[in-house]
């Protein structure tokens, strides 16, 4: 059985018990269906990461302004003097 709690921590979640039970059952069913992938021989096959044959897009190293600081801060839950306000991050 999948240890849901490990992946909750990775995803920064803490599930209520009713949700944990539903998600555990669903994740278990989905994972069991993934076993069918093993029957496909993929030796020597390169992963297909992107569907387009694209190169990294570059532009001139020139500063452009598409948004102001006030616009950026306008959606912040808490901010002060142009800084995002958060709990202490270092002990």
């Amino acid at each position: 059985m999948i240890n849901i709690e490990d992946y909750e921590a990775m995803a920064k979640l803490s599930l209520p018990e009713a949700e944990r039970s539903l998600i555990r059952d669903r994740a278990q069913a989905l994972t069991e269906s993934f076993a069918e992938l093993e029957r496909v021989n993929t030796d020597g096959v390169a992963p297909l990461v992107t569907v387009l044959d694209i190169k990294n897009v570059l532009r001139e190293d020139v500063a452009v302004k598409i948004i102001t600081r006030d616009e950026l801060m306008s959606n912040a839950p808490e901010h002060e003097d142009g800084y995002f306000h958060v709990p202490r991050t270092l002990d």
């Binding site: 490990d6 994740a27 387009l52 948004i67």
Partner: protein, 370 residues
């Protein structure tokens, strides 16, 4: 039916409605999630700018599943989407939405509408709240494909703000000179309902259908689940209550703020996708799941025979419930292929063409419907 997220709506039946994952400056954009309930967009999406430049009125922002993840992912009951219903009810001429999991392609024909899913790299994703970045593409709900492709030509074209696009600055969609060759894979046909099967056979009979299979068809749903959840979990990492969006009250410390915010802000389908994504990308599961899925994705690409046929025709529903039908609509997302769906003879038809061959989809539809 209430289609919109707010009172902001024009009531203009010739307007274009936007799924609420498409940003419109100074308007709320929530992607159907509590975690963005108070977010006001600072920008216009490129598709919005192009609609406005083309003098298309915007009808409003449509209610949607949270981040576009359908309830069938968690094996929960599904609902009719606002994006399809508003066009079916003639309250808007078109809807724009991101149909990653095929919900709109499946529902549109049931209600007398069509859906166009452009090839990846055709329509700018700038200003679209991302779900799975290698698969996201804004498509069109419309009453008929001719009008839908005309609208698509307004919003499609290269955008410097989206780094994964074809270079074409504009697209003109028109009937091709040749009649497309059509393939109807037996694996999908045999699992369609009787109504869908008859509809598909009737459609294909007008095109001298080619016999060909989709060798990995039964694995499409697993690939779609693994790859989309991996990308979704990555994309929703940004929702942490720091710079924007919902921040939970009553936290103790930074990590508690993250956990409370995301636990309270996300619905169950999004949490499932986040946990599945964390799992398939974790150290011990990455190779057997994520890397394996990407390798099979290449095998699928190599298995298609667009030298023998031009279009793959599929039903819009097969037996087996929501998870099985996830696989039915996966191919365009997995390989960036253009597709359409439309009603035909009592059933829904889904057509898929090779990259940059949207014209053949329009041609096939005009051959049988127009």
């Amino acid at each position: 039916m209430d289609y919109f997220i707010t009172d902001y709506k024009t009531g203009n039946a010739s307007a274009v409605a936007l799924e609420d994952s498409i940003m419109q400056k100074n308007r709320p954009v929530t992607a159907g999630s509590k975690i963005l309930e108070n977010f006001i967009s600072p920008i216009d999406a490129t598709v919005v700018t192009r609609l406005q430049n083309g003098n298309f009125p915007i009808a409003g922002k449509l209610k949607m599943d949270e981040f576009g993840i359908p309830p069938v992912f968690a094996d929960l009951p599904d609902e009719l989407s606002s994006a399809v219903r508003i066009v079916a009810d003639n309250k808007a001429a078109f809807s724009l939405c991101n149909d990653l999991f095929g919900k709109y392609r499946r529902q549109a024909p049931e209600f007398g509408c069509c859906y166009i899913h452009p090839g990846y790299g055709t329509v700018s994703r700038f200003g679209l709240i991302p779900l799975a970045s290698s698969m996201d593409q804004i498509g069109v709900v419309c009453k008929n494909l001719r009008d839908g492709f005309e609208l698509l030509s307004v919003i499609a074209g290269n955008d410097v703000n989206d780094g994964a696009m074809f270079p074409d600055k504009a697209y003109v969609y028109k009937r091709a000179d040749k009649k497309p060759g059509v393939c109807v894979p037996g694996a999908a046909l045999s699992r369609a309902s009787e109504r869908s099967r008859e509809s598909l056979k009737s459609f294909a009979s007008g095109f001298n259908p080619v016999s060909a299979e989709l060798p990995y068809f039964d694995l499409y749903k697993q690939l779609m689940c693994i790859l989309s959840c991996a990308e979704i979990s990555n994309n929703i990492n940004r929702y942490d209550g720091v710079k924007f969006g919902y921040r939970a009250p009553g936290y103790k410390g930074i990590n508690d703020m993250y956990v409370k915010t995301r636990t309270e802000g996300f619905g169950v389908e999004t949490k499932l996708a986040a946990i599945m994504g964390a799992m398939v990308l974790s150290k011990d599961q990455y190779v057997p799941y994520y890397e394996k899925a990407m390798k099979i994705r290449r095998l699928i690409k190599d298995s298609l025979r667009f030298d023998e046929y031009d279009i793959i025709a599929l039903p819009c529903e097969i037996e087996g419930g929501g998870y099985e039908n996830l696989g039915l609509f996966a191919l365009p997302a997995l390989l960036g292929l253009p597709s359409v769906s439309f009603p035909y003879n009592g059933g829904g038809i889904q057509l898929i063409a090779n990259v940059r061959n949207e014209n053949l989809l329009l041609t096939a539809w005009e051959e049988c419907v127009a």
